[in-house]
């Protein structure tokens, strides 16, 4: 699994240090630390309410942590604390070097504008000003996520769930980000569509050398996509390690329960 780039890039891309977040008396996230290297896929698994989504929001700078900090190595190679970034910088990062794939495509897409414009929006946001080139890039990306380019002018409202999710991925990847956050990207899709989407994701991740933080409750997704797994329960990381190690030989009782609750194929 570990590819060449992992060895080459020994500087981590994203580092979380003792992250905590509490909402009043509820500790949604307690003392989470890890580092993510370029090209690495990290799955965060756990049941509902275990703090997965809160952690994702902390990592992507959408929520401010109660304690601890997150640092990200920018394209110039300098690691910077997310809390020290201005809002403009953070939003710029979000539009260029990062991607965020939501579980519900309606949150990540503009449902009323055409697929081409959805993909092109990020390009226009970073100053592309040539219609022909924007359109060519958009149709190129639609091809890469296996959407028929004849539907480039259709709004995602008219798309199926699987197509919407693939469109959302294209929209995020068009600026060639280095880090993509995914929140249950296969939730709500039927099994065959899920399989196709995962297959697509896996090839894109390898091709673009993406670092990915993927939140899922589906262990099959974690097994298929990720290099490493973090298991969360009650806001804490209870187990972490290589995917096959954690899933095939779970140490913690909770992880054992989680793994054993999958029906054997």
């Amino acid at each position: 699994m570990a590819d060449q780039n992992l060895i080459e890039n020994d500087e981590p891309l994203l580092v979380a240090k003792s992250l905590s977040k509490s909402f009043g008396r509820i500790n949604a996230c307690r003392d989470v630390s890890f580092s993510l290297h370029p090209g690495e896929v990290l799955a965060i698994v756990g049941e509902s309410g275990s703090g997965k989504s809160t952690l994702l929001q902390l990592l992507s700078g959408q929520l401010a942590p109660s304690a601890g900090h997150v640092s990200y190595r920018m394209r110039d190679g300098v690691a910077r604390d997310l809390a020290s970034l201005g809002e403009a910088e953070r939003r710029f990062l979000f539009r260029t070097d990062w991607g965020f794939v939501h579980q519900d495509p309606a949150q990540g897409l503009r449902m009323a504008v055409s697929a081409g414009a959805n993909v092109g929006e990020r390009l226009m946001a970073v100053g592309w000003n040539h219609y022909g080139r924007i359109r060519d890039t958009a149709s190129d990306w639609l091809t890469r996520v296996e959407i028929d380019t004849a539907r480039i002018d259709d709004a995602p409202r008219t798309y199926s769930g699987g197509m919407r999710q693939r469109l959302q991925i294209a929209r995020n990847l068009v600026t060639e980000p280095r880090l993509v956050f995914m929140d249950e990207p296969t939730g709500g899709l039927d099994v065959s569509v899920q399989a196709r989407l995962l297959d697509l994701l896996r090839s894109l991740v390898a091709e673009l050398n993406l670092a990915v933080v993927i939140v899922t409750h589906d262990l099959a997704v974690a097994r298929l996509l990720s290099h490493r797994v973090m298991v969360m329960k009650g806001g804490r990381v209870i187990e972490t390690g290589l995917t096959d190690q954690v899933l095939d030989d779970p140490r913690e009782p909770y992880t054992q329960l989680l793994v054993s609750s999958i029906l054997p194929p």
Partner: protein, 298 residues
């Protein structure tokens, strides 16, 4: 005794001060929408309550007021606003563009070039150019603050994808002073180039939305476009049927139910002054008038 004792130009002095402060701030930050405490005016929203408040705040006793509605001096809206200020401020009114010092307008910029002694006040229904793309006000304000205007191009992209060209014909977004993207109110895009480097002060008032914004004199105003689909002002390809003008903005008037139509200048003052100067279009009544005159003289 029976005459209502209006304060000069209807609004009380405190209100005018408040509006003037907003106007000053708007002039200081070209294209930025300044919130102000818009008052109830004796007319319904959508009839120019924003423009009227701005006019009331800047009007002085020596001013000469012109009011136009879609270029015309003689529509209901224009006449009633003109009468309103004639009554409450006692100012002189005119229909001639070059005589006016304050021009309140709805949806047009006069054809006659404006000068540095004039102020153009626009009535604005929806001041936020990003409104139909991003419904959240908190978000659009943030986008303005951070100059994130990619979304504006999404709208233009959609136009080209759907119609093959930028089909937005009015309220065409502009960038003011290379910073803020602004809605020029629903003026036809034909008028956009007139805003650029204009010697007159341009003020925009939105009464219902409680916003004032401005373009100071001689400020750069650029219409947004794509490199391969540049901005083009649109005009019906015909001369005015009354004054034969080749370069004015035209209204299409349907004359019968058999497809008959005529194109006439939307700026009535411009059209009338051209006719008075002897320019006659294909459907001008002037030759018949002259003949009738001759016949009467015998």
């Amino acid at each position: 005794m029976n005459a209502p004792a209006y304060n000069f130009a209807y609004l009380d002095e405190q209100t005018k001060r408040m509006i003037r402060r907003a106007i000053l701030k708007a002039i200081a930050i070209p294209g930025y929408q300044v919130p102000f405490a818009s008052r109830e005016m004796p007319m319904p929203y959508g009839w120019g309550t924003g423009g009227v408040q701005v006019t009331a705040a800047i009007l002085g006793p020596q001013d000469v007021l012109k009011v136009i509605d879609q270029g015309s001096d003689d529509t209901t809206n224009a006449i009633s606003i003109r009468k309103f200020f004639a009554k409450t401020a006692g100012v002189a009114t005119t229909t001639a563009t070059d005589e006016a010092t304050v021009i309140q307008t709805r949806h047009r910029i006069p054809e006659t070039a404006l000068n540095a002694n004039q102020v153009l006040v626009y009535q604005v229904p929806i001041p936020e150019p990003l409104r139909f793309l991003e419904p959240r006000e908190t978000e659009t304000r943030r986008m303005h603050a951070l100059a994130e205007y990619g979304l504006m191009h999404v709208k233009l992209y959609e136009d080209i994808a759907r119609f093959g060209h930028i089909a937005t014909a009015y309220a065409y977004p502009v960038k003011v002073n290379a910073r803020y993207v602004m809605d020029p109110s629903p003026t036809p895009k034909f008028d956009n180039p007139k805003m650029d480097n204009c010697p007159a002060l341009q003020l925009f008032g939105a009464g219902r939305e409680k916003r004032i914004y401005a373009i100071p004199p001689y400020t750069q105003v650029v219409s947004l476009d794509f490199e391969d689909h540049p901005f083009e002002p649109y005009r019906f390809n015909a001369p005015c049927a009354l004054c034969a003008a080749e370069n004015s903005y035209l209204d299409e008037i349907v004359t019968d139910d058999k497809g008959g139509r005529m194109f006439v200048c939307s700026d009535t003052d411009y059209c009338e002054s051209r006719q008075a100067a002897g320019h006659h279009g294909s459907l001008s009544a002037a030759p018949y008038k002259d003949k009738a005159q001759e016949a009467a003289n015998g």
